[in-house]
Amino acid sequence: MKARIYVTLKKAVLDPQGKAVARSLQQLGFAEVEDVRIGKYIELTLRAASAEAARAHIENMCQKLLANTVIEDYRIEVEA
């Protein structure tokens, strides 16, 4: 089974990388860019009896390692 995990900085946490990329895009002429936030994308392959079971296990993985919930949020997508 495959899953996709998106880890992003919480809104209250400054993202200097995102700000630098936003400035660079604006300098390239993309004046419409208002804000950029950069996060992580994780592809995971795992054995699981069902999508629900996979999601529960990945939730646990995010809490224990994949995200630092002090500064990050995460979102899980399990491929049916």
């Binding site: 400054l14 390692l65 002090v70």
Partner: protein, 233 residues
């Protein structure tokens, strides 16, 4: 007095920490990250470096390595634990210290001397440092911007131990090398036995290195372990 220095793959200040502890008069030895039990120790140091290549997040994988269960037990028994730079990041990742270290506001790797004020509740590593003393020691990090949802609560609880200040002691924006909230450079836990800081006292223990102020932390913990009420520095 016996000091253990944890070695993770990618630690690069482990030898500096062993040397610093020995200069202060302690016996110092290395503890490999795969150990699940600690030898008999009086204090523990998590050194600087780039454990596990800083993969995922700085200190994230080190915080889940086999030795950390024993480190947590040592801390919960009240043993003094000092985390320097990557060691501080690792202690935050374990939850032994509050908050997190994020990318420097400047986006640069900051490598220079800073000045630090010493405040908050006494810790074994700082209790012998005279009040009002400003310490000078180097920083060398890319992920040192301290973040906490409520930094004022840390101050109120006396958990902020070091702040970036100018040479006169002012916690100004210009004295803040990485954008840390509240100029916070180091914090302790409510019990006061676990201390983490981004600057490197281990790299400032001998005059030939430009400053010996860092030695005060190592002298202080040895005084605390001996039960000596003396001032250092």
């Amino acid at each position: 007095m016996k000091v253990g220095v944890i070695q993770f793959p990618g630690s690069n200040c482990d030898q500096d920490c062993v040397r610093a502890a020995r200069i202060a008069g302690a016996e110092a030895s290395y503890v490999w990250h795969k150990e699940t039990r600690l030898p008999e120790l009086d204090a523990l140091i998590l050194p600087g470096g780039f454990s596990y290549g800083d993969y995922l997040r700085s200190g994230a994988i080190a915080a889940r390595s086999p030795v950390m269960g024993a480190v947590r037990e040592f801390a919960e028994r009240g043993g003094p634990v000092l985390g320097i730079c990557n060691g501080f990041q690792t202690l935050c990742e374990t939850g032994l210290l509050e908050g997190a270290l994020t990318r420097n506001g400047s986006l640069k790797f900051e490598c220079r001397d800073v000045h630090l004020s010493v405040e908050g509740r006494p810790t074994p590593f700082t209790q012998a440092i005279p009040a009002g003393r400003i310490l000078r020691m180097p920083i060398a990090h890319a992920d040192g911007r301290y973040h906490h949802d409520d930094p004022d609560s840390l101050t109120q609880r006396g958990l902020v131990v070091f702040r970036y200040v100018d040479a006169a002691g002012g916690a100004t924006p210009a004295a803040n090398p990485n954008g840390s909230l509240g100029n916070i450079a180091g914090i302790t836990n409510p019990r006061g036995n676990v201390l983490g800081l981004m600057p490197h006292p281990d790299r400032a223990c001998e005059p030939i290195l430009g400053s010996a102020d860092g030695k005060m932390l190592f002298d202080s913990v040895l005084c605390a372990l001996r039960g000596a009420r003396v001032r250092v520095g």
